[in-house]
């Protein structure tokens, strides 16, 4: 009986954080992953649920500027944080330089890995504006792509860095 009451009490918890610059406040089930809250509560379906094991990287988001796997991050641990997803990169309908480079360089085929690749690339370029190829390969080493063979993605990230129009958001 006591256990049942506690479960009911623990069912929903309030959480506040900033998503792509907008303040969000929600009641979520305790223990929910950030991925679930983003997709099912806040309607941001840009991070994808792939393996849910931390292997594929397509759920990658930035939490306070740091690359994280939203499938393994509990939403409650992001209280007060600033979360950035691919959906927040374009400004006023203008694609972010990384998005443009991916589009122009055919770095997207089926597209499922793309949001994670772009967030991993953004985490790199925010820290290292002019990375070497080796740094790019390392930056996306936690992201799996089964279509492109990675080369177009690596070229797109290097191209976005070279375009000099990259802006740290």
């Amino acid at each position: 009986m006591g256990v049942a009451r506690e479960e009911k009490r623990m069912a929903k918890v309030p959480i506040q954080f900033v998503l792509n610059g907008d303040e969000k406040a929600e009641f979520v089930e305790s223990g929910s992953t950030l991925l679930k809250v983003l997709r099912e509560k806040l309607g941001d379906t840009s991070p994808k649920g792939g393996c849910h094991q931390g292997t594929c990287g397509t759920c990658s988001v930035l939490v306070d500027g740091e690359l994280r796997l939203s499938c393994l991050t509990l939403a409650e641990t992001c209280e007060g944080a600033s979360v950035t997803t691919t959906a927040g990169l374009a400004e006023g309908g203008v694609l972010h330089p990384l998005q443009r480079a991916f589009q122009e360089g055919f770095a997207t085929q089926c597209g499922f890995c793309t949001p994670g690749m772009i967030m991993a690339a953004k985490a790199l370029l925010d820290r290292v504006p002019n990375p070497t190829r080796e740094e790019v390969v390392d930056a996306i080493s936690g992201n799996i792509c089964r279509c492109t063979g990675y080369e177009p993605i690596i070229r797109a990230i290097l191209s976005a860095a070279r375009s000099n129009s990259h802006h740290a958001a």
Binding site: S30, T33, H52, G54, C71, D138, G142
Partner: protein, 265 residues
């Protein structure tokens, strides 16, 4: 069964909450949240602590104390921990390294736990509050430690030339371990090996010492001939795992090859 997260300001409170049935300590989430995602119904409550001591690093007089919640990426970029940065960088990709913690790595089952392999070679102490346990003993009994909270690890930061680490993976630059090896060598000025600690990952279900190889290195030179007896007994006492990455047979076959390359590099 609904899940719940309970957050405590102090380690003691979190420690008490961890005694409840179904409670597991949440570090970076790369093991525990993964288990929940995979449907581990034995897990009902995540317990965590935001105690600042868990996130601190201090290096004094060459001895490092690293809080259990410190992440691999924090270690990899810490100026005083450069000697062990290769082991921190060997863990996962960038996102995993931003999440995975020192404390969690001590409990990671093979093929994970590469950083714990380095800590074993370094003869680290595992701290649970005031209680310090040598890592050899901690790892052997870690299943019994699952209901307690590691607060920090402590070890002497090695001179870079004395410490060697390799993670063997099939996918570059990031892949799950075929095996990992960490070696701490004490060599006399003429190159004679006075003492060695060799730790192996994936050669059992948790990091283990290559005790026979350590003994066989003492008094020898670090040459192909000098290390040959150690390589011959490198697999003694091992029980390698079989998984999608490699079979136990393969791991046993390549262990002496990679140990030899690491020692001669």
């Amino acid at each position: 069964m609904p899940l719940a997260l309970k957050t405590f300001a102090t380690l003691n409170d979190a420690d008490a909450a961890l005694k409840a049935a179904g409670a597991r300590y949440l570090g970076g989430g790369t093991l525990v949240v993964r288990a929940a995602n995979e449907g581990d119904v034995s897990l009902t409550t995540f317990v965590r602590s935001t105690d600042p001591a868990l996130f601190s690093i201090s290096v004094e007089g060459g001895r490092a104390t690293i809080g259990a919640s410190v992440t691999m990426s924090t270690i990899a970029r810490h100026p005083d921990l450069a000697a062990i940065a290769p082991a921190a960088r060997a863990v996962g990709g960038p996102a995993i390294r931003n999440m995975a913690t020192v404390g969690g790595n001590l409990f990671a089952p093979a093929p994970y736990g590469d950083f714990a392999v380095a800590l074993l070679a370094l003869d680290a102490e595992v701290l649970e509050g005031d209680q310090a346990t040598p890592i050899d003993a901690f790892l052997k009994a870690r299943d019994a430690a699952a209901g307690r909270i590691v607060s920090a690890v402590r070890f002497d930061v090695p001179e870079p030339k004395k410490f060697r680490f390799v993670k063997v993976a099939r996918v570059k630059p990031k892949g799950v371990s075929v095996l990992s090896i960490a070696v701490l060598l004490d060599e006399a000025s003429d190159g004679t090996i006075r003492a060695a600690r060799i730790a192996l990952g994936c050669m059992a279900n948790r990091p283990m010492r290559a005790a026979a190889a350590e003994q066989a290195l003492v008094g020898r030179q670090r040459t192909a001939e000098g290390i040959a007896p150690a390589l011959a007994v490198a697999g003694e006492g091992t029980a390698p795992i079989t998984d999608a990455i490699a079979s136990a047979w393969y791991r046993a076959e390549v262990l002496p090859v990679h140990l030899g390359r690491l020692l001669l590099s």
